[in-house]
């Protein structure tokens, strides 16, 4: 049985950009989990389609819709309003709705809400993200841990490089960097290095 990974646009792009043994982390994740997209995120990804990304046709397989309520009805209940297509935060909210629906309507277990948009988790999804304990929240860094635990990434050095590549590929331009952000990244790098070492003990 595979995990069900509801993936956000930014994570989809980041994981596509980073490679390990000449394959993108996204392609490894696609094989190791059931990738799921809300219709809105599927449209957002279409706007950022890069060479080698799953095509529009292939992504159709990943798109799920909500069953217990319609997505607009879920939006109204969770966010207090319905969102227009392309409206800010709609992708994240709809993905979270799909996550809830997958767990609590379809009774799927092992549902992961994957996003690298920390603003969204601190903002619009702040209450939801702590109110549904069955949904695990991951960033792309957790994907690297997962792929390493599953030995899809075969060595700690490659996993460590993948963490470094994720940091590098998501970094702001030099002029936009701040000392606080740099320190946050250094701390994050050290934390995930420590987590990789912990994981390596089970092998």
């Amino acid at each position: 049985m595979k995990f069900n990974c509801v993936i956000d646009t930014c994570s989809f792009i980041y994981l596509h950009r980073v490679t390990c043994n000449r394959k993108s982390l996204l392609s490894y994740l696609k094989n190791a989990t059931n990738l799921i997209l809300s219709p809105e995120v599927n449209v957002e990804i279409r706007d950022h389609l890069l060479d080698g990304m799953p095509s529009n046709e292939e992504r159709k397989r990943f798109v799920k819709i909500a069953r217990k309520h319609s997505i607009p009805e879920y939006e109204r209940r969770i966010a207090g309003k319905t969102y227009s297509p392309r409206e800010r935060n709609k992708g994240e909210i709809d993905n979270f709705i799909i996550s809830i629906d997958q767990v609590h309507h379809f009774k799927r277990i092992g549902v992961i809400f994957l996003t690298d948009d920390s603003n969204c988790l601190r903002g619009i999804l702040k209450e939801c993200s702590i109110a549904f304990p069955t949904i695990k929240i991951w960033t792309s860094y957790e994907v690297v841990l997962f792929l390493y635990i599953e030995r899809v990434i075969p060595s700690i050095d490659l996993a460590s490089d993948a963490i470094g590549d994720l940091i590098s590929s998501t970094a702001p331009k030099p002029a936009e960097r701040t000392m606080e952000y740099t320190q946050k990244l250094i701390k994050l790098r050290a934390e995930y290095e420590s987590k990789l070492k912990t994981v390596s003990k089970i092998f």
């Binding site: 590549d165 940091i167 590098s168 960097r177 000392m179 740099t182 320190q183 990244l185 250094i186 701390k187």
Partner: protein, 365 residues
């Protein structure tokens, strides 16, 4: 509104929140142990031709960049000292190129030209060429370095292009060289040869190089692929210059341990570090000495701690969070007090003025 002179100050000694190389008042205040540790590296190199790779690490605002500026602009009595200050390259994809050009800029092309010209004119040509071949590990780059000292304006202009932007095959032919600087390895070889000219072999020239690389924490932004290339460049450079060379790597780490720095710098660079100098948060005692030294240095007329008193200094330091007492925070607080005192037409700073300033300061922060 009063002036700095009314406060018995020639200038505001706390004005720099970020170090300013153009500041004519660069003055080392307090922290005698820290200064002594840096000075030891300098004197060991100056007196014993030693080679050191120092890691200076500590919190943001802890004085690492100031220390670089202070020592780089300091006048030493010994001759033939070359001081280079650069920041770590920001773009990992072009790190080697940026590093190479930053060093050339810091040295300046005109200084490089005149120095090589001096060496060419005062050394046996074969000996100098052989020396360069050993250090640059390339005959082609040894010849290119010699051409940097050419007095022919056309050759000199072409060599400027050679190091900064590259030259065409026709221009290479005109220079009588077979190879341009194409790869990172080429750049390192050329740089090693060039820097060796500022060290010499103790016979035709006896120099010392002090290379400061600031903001090494920016290596966190490099992809592992780019990082490996750049760390190899640093490693080769450190290895190719055998002596009379000191490098200081400044690394800001807000929280964490040395092993975090090792992770970011990587084993190749980490294993070459010979000294680790910690820029710690200041104790209250350190902070007091720092303030007293700065105030005395800036006083118009020597008069105790005027315009402050020992009590006032203590009370201001006491307002800074105890885990964040750094020179930058101290400067921020004291600079604000001085500005407040001037704006309110005071000529001294007493506890009542500090109390009134504190209300203002808390509102603004």
């Amino acid at each position: 509104m009063s002036t700095l002179n009314d406060l018995n100050l020639r200038f505001n000694p706390f004005r720099d929140l970020t170090p300013d190389v153009a500041n004519n008042h660069l003055f080392w205040a307090g922290l005698p142990d820290l200064k002594a540790r840096i000075e030891r590296s300098y004197s060991d190199c100056l007196n014993n031709k030693a080679k050191h790779i120092n890691l200076n690490w500590g919190p943001y605002g802890g004085g690492k960049t100031f220390t670089a500026n202070y020592f780089v602009t300091k006048n030493f009595t010994q001759p033939n000292i070359t001081q280079i200050y650069i920041r770590s390259p920001k773009d990992g994809t072009k790190a080697t190129d940026e590093f190479f050009k930053s060093i050339l800029d810091s040295l300046s092309f005109s200084r490089i030209k005149s120095h090589i010209e001096f060496l060419v004119n005062n050394t046996n040509p074969d000996d100098f060429r052989n020396f360069l071949i050993t250090r640059a590990r390339s005959e082609e780059f040894a010849d290119a370095i010699i051409k940097l000292g050419s007095t022919d304006p056309e050759i000199s202009n072409l060599m400027r292009s050679y190091v900064y932007s590259g030259v065409t095959k026709t221009e290479l032919k005109k220079l009588g060289l077979a190879r341009d600087l194409q790869t990172d390895t080429d750049s390192v070889k050329f740089l090693s040869g060039l820097l060796s000219c500022f060290v010499g072999d103790g016979t035709f020239y006896d120099g010392r190089i002090f290379l400061w690389i600031d903001e090494m924490e920016d290596l966190i932004y490099y992809s592992p692929k780019n990082y490996k290339v750049f760390s190899q460049v640093l490693r080769d450079l450190f290895d190719y210059i055998p002596n009379s060379f000191v490098s200081f790597l400044n690394f800001t780490l807000a929280e964490g341990e040395e092993k975090t720095i090792e992770l970011i710098l990587g084993g190749a660079v980490w294993s070459r570090i010979t000294r680790k100098i910690r820029f710690k948060e200041l104790t209250s005692q350190d902070a007091t000495l720092y303030c007293e030294d700065l105030i005395r240095h800036a006083q118009l007329n020597a008069n105790g701690l005027s315009p402050f008193t020992a009590n006032v200094i203590q009370s201001i330091i006491g307002l800074i969070s105890s885990n964040n007492i750094t020179p930058r925070e101290i400067n921020r607080y004291f600079s604000s007090v001085i500005t407040f005192a001037m704006q309110n037409n005071h000529t001294t700073v007493d506890l009542s003025i500090v109390a009134a300033w504190q209300v203002d300061f808390q509102e603004d922060n």
